[in-house]
Symmetry: C2
Amino acid sequence: PVERAVTRVVTPGTLTEAELLGGDENNFVAALVEGEEGYGLAMLDVSTGDFYATGTTDAATLRDEAGRFDPAEAVVGPDVSVPEAREVFGGDCMVTPYDAGAFGFDRAHERVSDYFGRPETLLASPAEIRACGALLAYAEYARGTTDEGERDRLDYLTHLTRYDPREYMLLDAVALRSLELFERRSVHGATGTALVDVLDETACALGRRRLHDWLRRPLLDTDEIRARQGAVEELVGDLSTREFLHERLHDVYDVERLIARISRGRGNARDLRSLHDTLAVVPALREALAGAESDRLRDLHERLDPLEDVRETIDEAVAEDPPIELTEGGVVREGYDERLDELRQTEREGKRWIDSLEAEERERTGVDSLKVGFNQVHGYYIEVTKANTDRVPEDYQRRQTLKNSERYYTPELKEREDEIVRAEGRADDLEYELFREVRAAVGDETERVQRVADAVAELDTLVSLATVAAEHDYCRPEVGETDSVHVERGRHPVVERTQQSFVPNDAHLPREAPVTVLTGPNMSGKSTYMRQVALVCVLAQIGSFVPAASARLPVLDRIFTRVGASDDIAGGRSTFMVEMDELAGILQHASEDSLVLLDEVGRGTSTADGFAIARAVTEHLHDETEAFTLFATHHHDLTAVADSLPRARNRHFSATREGGSVTFDHDVREGPATASYGVDVARMAGVPDSVVERARALLGPEEASNGHSASDVEPATNGHHAPDELLE
Amino acid sequence: PVERAVTRVVTPGTLTEAELLGGDENNFVAALVEGEEGYGLAMLDVSTGDFYATGTTDAATLRDEAGRFDPAEAVVGPDVSVPEAREVFGGDCMVTPYDAGAFGFDRAHERVSDYFGRPETLLASPAEIRACGALLAYAEYARGTTDEGERDRLDYLTHLTRYDPREYMLLDAVALRSLELFERRSVHGATGTALVDVLDETACALGRRRLHDWLRRPLLDTDEIRARQGAVEELVGDLSTREFLHERLHDVYDVERLIARISRGRGNARDLRSLHDTLAVVPALREALAGAESDRLRDLHERLDPLEDVRETIDEAVAEDPPIELTEGGVVREGYDERLDELRQTEREGKRWIDSLEAEERERTGVDSLKVGFNQVHGYYIEVTKANTDRVPEDYQRRQTLKNSERYYTPELKEREDEIVRAEGRADDLEYELFREVRAAVGDETERVQRVADAVAELDTLVSLATVAAEHDYCRPEVGETDSVHVERGRHPVVERTQQSFVPNDAHLPREAPVTVLTGPNMSGKSTYMRQVALVCVLAQIGSFVPAASARLPVLDRIFTRVGASDDIAGGRSTFMVEMDELAGILQHASEDSLVLLDEVGRGTSTADGFAIARAVTEHLHDETEAFTLFATHHHDLTAVADSLPRARNRHFSATREGGSVTFDHDVREGPATASYGVDVARMAGVPDSVVERARALLGPEEASNGHSASDVEPATNGHHAPDELLE
């Protein structure tokens, strides 16, 4: 057999080995092109075959779309510089300049045609075609060439998804991070929890990646949202089907990666068995959906093809518990190939003969201590102690002398040994040849396997959403039938899991009064509340149920956040500059269908400048943009501004100081707050008493005596005592 | 040969393979014990043998020491819970509960004695002995046991460094992060630069790790500081020696890891050759230091032993360019072992015979197209086309039938083939045996190799510091002869490299007026200035020269920072709470020998509360602590406070608005600033004009017309135009 001399190139974006990839998550490599008609962006996961393309003329949108997929590597041609690409893809992404020729239109067009048919029907611009073509070329290059230096087609790339950025809710990198959709922040030395973690009850890697994809791209299409909701609702209502499906889905292997490896001629025998075992699960999944009523589940029932022929091909040829190594035997099932069975028979017989040799030779020589043994260097031998060497027969030939014994062989033993070694070697080689044939045959069915994997992924994700909804008391939101945000008794999906008790809150942002200014002391719950409103909207738009008693929601085009702060010293941007930069982005891009979260704008400058900016921003969002806006602030003057604006409202969180401790009730109320309790927090954090007392004295009798209005002083019935459960 | 069945346990802290370890940096596993007499903490890098132990009764000090080493894994016994350990080691560290028995005093004592001799002379408390003993036990466990289930002593652990936390300047996790000593923050999509990056001109991994260690533990001992400075100074003054050393050090392999692998019986032939090649460099290093004058370089000259015997042992036995695999031949040099040379000779002769066979058989049969070939499955064969099969001699036996030809073998060919296969197999096995003997012999010299590595590491680090000092115009600071901080024309060592031009600034914090309140607009340079003062002090205390025209510095016991801000939402702590928490730590632990950097305290609460806290804190640091303090603020009222305090000073950075842009001169000056330019920054960041104009209008004519005093309005001669070079 001609061995293929493969020169693989391993880069962060083109890893395909499960051991090198961190986990189940997608690992994308991107290609970026800037043409006359705008940008073309392509993203490919070579380990699964997931392939996306999009285009835009707007640099900000380009960054946002790149942020969705968070590629590990980006390939650029001559029209995009490395620093430009770094701006787009972020600092964790490796930027690789690649062959200009591959980015040329003609070659790219040809390559895309070769894989997916006529590019013009699939992609929207020459830039997109060039990005996709160049990315295919790069993936082929990284995969390595054949002996003859020929390119090697990646047959498992069967599907290219082209989408328009405007088809999905936009969550830019800032929003993704501050809403913690995927990012786990380290907290008190423990790893934090992201939204995707509380949502992930998937049973297999296929579902896990699909869930990430849905969260990455919340929908704008209400029909699709409702189709998913319908499936979730049916599964919420049917515990036994849900649990049955979940249980069976646990036995599904990562077939997207398996078939990708198999189709590239890199899968081992265990990979084939894993594919077989997964296909064996499909009939049960299909059967469980036989009586489904929702359109989406009925559709999945159709799509779950168990691929009997593929399963049988594998089962007949590949042994049930094969080793990882393909060249050392044990891979092919007995009975599959006559030649192979014969070689193995020869091997076994030879070994049996040697097994019986010791008894025979003892009898023949009369030496009871005679032993037959094997040693890596010298092969089989007959060992006789020095005392008995005179009883050794004529045909014994000396092989090795030890301290207390001699080792011999006989011509017959040597012949048998040669026979065994040769049969074993040939059988191993033959098995490898046979295995490669089966692997190639299965690889030919890649597209069918991928279609089944697609259906399984969707089913697992729907089951996961239903499980979370049922176990954590989520409701089905009405989406797109109203132009107001209306949530009753909503909860923060992550915080409600990590805190011992959680106080639900309503959120009403009607079209006619979309702006709310939110005040209240530190840790009273403002930040949690704002994020909770945003997360409920995100969940609704991926088709999930939401943590609330009920919800009626509009379809949001985008969520903006300006919360928290981080210095960017070596990059030369102050906290304040970062803040203003993000704010500018919001003011430029928000629409009346956007949700804007602002947490304290204008902190990093003087009080007068900061307040002037905060006020001007509030007025702009109120008068011009009319976006749904939640603005948390300590500038108490801003509450007076809200009072003076017709479409703005004041809401606040309050607290009560009793004895030495401050109690928060975490309940959002009408009107503005009046006290901030900053000095109390300083005391709780362990600032020395003398400093705390001095600060109180400086505040004067008026402010130091709580300073809150009568309405705030009330028994905190469902309140918590800080600092046990500090919560903002 | 008896093969050892090794069951290795791979954990984040016990990786030893270079491919799995990220780079040259240390990878520590820690063990923590809490006893009656306080905590015992041990840290071990199993890949290099670096082993540290320390003890403290204070939980905060414990966290700080753990933070210095930043272990990948921590092992705890019964007296420390997993959550406690997480608090100590941080969220990125894997916490592993381990066998209580190993943490028991008697077993730990015995194990430490076995490795390092009497524990009482080495370690300060029973808790430290227990931590070290348990860590040794864990390292042995992770390394795996022998066939017989016996523990396997780690002979390369020859040295244990016990230190007192009070011997080093303390830099807690907050300070390490905010001063960016090691952390590279992502900036504008590009990876940022840490202090260690601009300081690292080391040529080998040994020096690179040593530099990290020095930065991790800046000295308090002025004698040691001066000894290092003396060596650096001599190297700064001798360009040719410095360049020669640097060049030669490039050829040094990571011998700490090599000898650790070799001593554990895991090194391959290339590892031995790399050790050989490194030892071959040592004589040149030694020679270059022959005329050194500084004590430290003379001392290194003594310690650089070229270990001729070890080098020869390797060179005689191991081939010059060996393969990675040890069992496939090519590892042992020809001429080293007679038996081996004979086997290889047999192999070669057999192959030569087969090489000549084709010509011979063509002549014998008269078939010109006859070919001799080899195939994995069937071995050697003689191939004859179908047309010529009638001319085949009697002794040809049929082996395989192809479409157009037949393949044969002859008894003699078969015999030769067997001979080759057997000789090859036996030679491979013998080579492996011989190699293991040599490896074991070299492993016995571990301690001597480690001593040379230690000297090389120190030399490389000193050369690196000298290179940076010479190339970037650093000066030798006077350390410990004054109790005031006095820097002339100081620069930020990182920012001066990443910005096109950099304005140096003086820093004077005399003992009699240690507190400075720093004001000025955003991006005028306050944050950079504060960090620059801290970094100059850190560099001085590791023995490095510093980026300044001249510097006289005290020995600081600790540097505190409270800068930047980060939300900790799922952890339930607001920005403000994190800020107060860090502030409390500073107020509790700072001494008159500490440097405290505060950047805007009290931002996350109401203006009144924030100012009261900021003032009380300033007064406390001024009256009670008397620490060297730099307090940057936008609370302009705080400048009046500084004016009223006898040991506090006001300093400011200023800016000029000219036409549409703001110019910063980045020059620190006496007295307070008067304008903050917040609205200008908002405009530069891209906040829409209408919003900017509205904010200006709200500020009123007084504040909007720059608002700065006459002293600020002056031509910015060496100034920069924002936003091209934004800088805070």
